[in-house]
Symmetry: C2
Subunit: 506 residues, 2 copies
């Protein structure tokens, strides 16, 4: 067994048992919360937004590219004719493989495949013992190690927490090096100026040990482009689209359309605006390079009516997650949604908002689940324990997504006959043969009876998550990496640091 | 405004704001986890179970009734020919109204309607301040008051906790009197000997102020019949079916088929057995009275592989909940499922298992949600705080089930045009007009930022639920009842107590 294989198969580490790394597929029909007519009405409204209002695109190069394919440019404002938008639908691939440096961890994005990411971009980090603190490189690396250890996590979804103790000009170099060495799952990069995109693409190429031409053919890193809702696209976002699309890397355009703040207070209006902004992103990526991998991102939620604070995992969130999926399928594009909540601690609220968000995203046909594990506080906090809890939730979702087996063996009529009225199935052969693998075994759920639980000190799920986190971190092993590659990565980082890193005035 | 109306409209009591009492409808397409062919295979397996193995039916009267419609009776064993079973499909109503003594609280059971019940039959009760204790009449009444106060709860789902301090021979009289006076929502009764069914039906008739003939036409009380899985039906269960069906009251036959214990360890086998037992119940009710209201109950879960303890809200539970719904729809019957979990405290586990269970039940097309609010510990504990938390979850589910509005107003193109690129929607007329009602406002979710939450003492959702529970109980008002009816209820209870109550050797 190769070392890689051994790593992949490590289902029990530090005494924690997990199912192996695998991608779930949505074999059930996604939920449609709006009718075909209503879907068409939203599509048409988005086309009108793009044709009549357009968007402000700040980057000259982006406006030139858009003009080049027929957009109407008036100052910073870019308007798209409906026919122009329609001509770019069906150009991007319905699905593609996102290559990891460990091929066993490459994932399919699109179709009925689903891939789960870590939390990304939280400014603060917390664990149960140490409390909440500003993001830093030590915790950044700790979260990477934990994410690498959790088989439910398929992708790095950005910096799990912002390592603000690293200088902004070179942070991307150290941070992405850590992602590429401490984990062997595919990475995300930030679009904060074209130099950072270029550095990221080069680091990923080195880590994968491939040449430029191969990398251009094999998507190996993805970026999230958040439009500046409403209706604006700033320089780093446009640069990110251009740099990534040019190299055949993955762009996920995700308008963050908080209904009542950056978008209309009505769900339909917020989604129409989200859709218009995502379509502008689609046109720009495909204008840069036809067929560049593109993910349709939906991230419409609502605000708390009392305070104006963003809310997540709400009924409105569930509906917009499903509407986003309907739109992405209409455009035959992979769909990105998120596992979100706005709780301050790993309590019942954190769990119910997360599972409601998963219900919306998964049944909405999500292909790329951003913030799949570790997100708290509406994105302001990355939590070690929540990452473990979410990994358990994601494994449960995967088990649910395995359709039931219905065949003669499973129907078990002989066992029912053997046991007969009033008997029990514990001892029968049908049970004994399947006993150890019949059901999903979660990491956290405590199913002891009240007496046993009392004697154990009445632990709650937060405490159990802490314990599992400690076990996993203690058992963590860095995934193998060729020494030559390790040196080449270090040399590239050293050279770019010497050159001064990337500009910070993006 | 009538007093009743005033009560119904009490959306804010004790400072707690709730949406009004209303029934949700499932306007989305339920999820199908098995194909039409697989559904047919389970149906056929169930027919074979009933034809080849049959069930043990302990009550002579029940066997006679079944024999009368063509069943093959051999000692205690009753076998049903497939054609006989098929002849009873489509006989029971697809939906019916379950009448409450307050007509505003009557609910439709079946079709795309959903109704949520309180927790039923827990032997223990807990609250955050007082801890866990054996069931008793004081807490029983407290839980009834809380359930009456929560608009998300449509029905009494049995004794929320078993009042074991009441003598078994007369417990049903005091308990059901309390249900009928402290709440005005429709009741459940237990099938523990025919005398108790008869007493319950009479108490319900008195409380509704109608005559026997009206009651026989208007379902006003429901009972849960748990077959003694595998393949057995004991005396009180058969008596319950006979007494309730005869009077046109509601029978919900729910096999409790724990996979690997009372049913095959395989999901398909457990559901096939569940289905066979439910169909036997259907045939018996319809043989007693054609067209008697019947609910198809599904309650297949799995055991913990390590300890054999029952587990709930698991991936397997979600799938069986959905398969049960597919079967119920095939038979055009209302479908019962449950909101369940196996947690010992109101933590993240309690929440995630509950929301997973709701995901399975709701998207499975559940019409009658038993244990909708307050269930803990796999049914061994009724929790005051969990009842509040569940009511909030159920309200979120209801809000999710309201399909998004997509029309010109909602699409809000004028607002998008008015705000323009880079602006915000807080102040625009489109937002201001809808500000107060645009989004669902939960009772518990704490969306404050970390600093405000810290200053407030870092409360978790369990503490918030306790606070809301206290506020609701302090503001509780007994629903109005005609004095004559109150006296008649008391007189009936007194007379039946004098007669010695009901036998305890059922």
């Amino acid at each position: 067994m190769s070392e890689r294989r051994r790593h992949r198969e490590r289902r029990t580490a530090g005494g924690v048992h997990q199912p192996p790394f695998r991608q779930p597929r949505l074999r059930y029909r996604p939920i449609e919360v709006i009718s075909a007519d209503q879907l068409e009405a939203i599509h048409q409204a988005s086309l009108r937004i793009l044709a009549e209002m357009g968007m402000e695109v700040l980057l000259d190069e982006a406006r030139d590219i858009l003009k080049g394919v027929g957009a109407e440019v008036d100052g910073l404002r870019v308007r798209l004719d409906p026919a122009l938008v329609e001509s770019f639908i069906g150009v991007a691939p319905e699905s593609f493989t996102l290559h990891a440096r460990n091929p066993d961890h490459s994932v399919v994005v699109g179709g009925d495949h689903m891939a789960f990411c870590t939390v990304g971009s939280a400014p603060n980090v917390a664990d149960r013992a140490g409390g909440r603190r500003p993001g830093n490189f030590k915790d950044f690396c700790g979260l990477l190690r934990l994410a690498q250890s959790l088989n439910a996590i398929h992708l790095n979804g950005g910096y799990p927490v912002e390592p603000i103790d690293l200088h902004a000009s070179t942070r991307h170099l150290d941070a992405l090096s850590a992602v590429l060495t401490l984990t062997d799952k595919a990475p995300n990069c930030y679009s904060l100026g074209k130099e950072r995109n270029r550095d990221a693409i080069e680091l990923v190429r080195i880590a994968r040990g491939v040449d430029d031409a191969t990398l251009d053919e094999e998507p190996s890193v993805f970026t999230i482009i958040n439009t500046n809702s409403p209706l604006k696209l700033d320089n780093p976002m446009s640069q990110g689209i251009i740099e990534m699309a040019r190299r055949g890397q993955v762009t996920c355009v995700t308008p963050f359309t908080l209904a009542g703040a950056m978008a209309p207070i009505t769900i339909a209006g917020a989604v129409a605006q989200q859709n218009a902004e995502a379509l502008m992103g689609l046109v720009l990526t495909q204008a840069v390079k036809r067929g560049a991998p593109f993910v349709y991102g939906g991230f419409t939620s609502n605000v708390d009516m009392k305070s104006g604070a963003p809310a997540f995992g709400t009924p409105e969130y569930m509906k917009t997650a499903m509407m986003g999926g309907q739109l992405a399928r209409r455009y035959r594009l992979p769909y990105r949604s998120s596992n979100v909540n706005a709780a301050n601690t790993v309590d019942a609220q954190a769990a119910y908002e997360s599972v409601f968000a998963l219900w919306g995203a998964v049944m909405g046909g999500c292909n790329l689940m951003k913030h799949g594990a570790g997100w708290m506080e509406g994105g302001l906090q990355a939590s070690f324990e929540k990452m473990v809890l979410d990994a358990d939730l994601l494994q449960m979702v995967m088990a649910f997504l395995d359709p039931p087996v219905v065949d003669d063996d499973a129907l078990g009529l002989d066992a029912i006959r053997e046991v007969g009225p009033g008997g029990h199935f514990f001892g029968c052969a049908h049970t004994q043969e399947r006993y150890e693998t019949a059901f999903f075994a979660p990491m956290l759920s405590d199913w002891r009876n009240a007496q046993a639980w009392e004697i154990a000190g009445r632990p709650d799920a937060y405490q159990k998550a802490e314990q599992v986190k400690d076990q996993l971190l203690a058992a963590y092993e860095e995934p193998p990496m060729d020494e030559g590659i390790r040196e080449e990565l270090a040399a590239f980082v050293a050279r770019r640091k010497e050159e001064g890193g990337a500009p910070t005035d993006f």
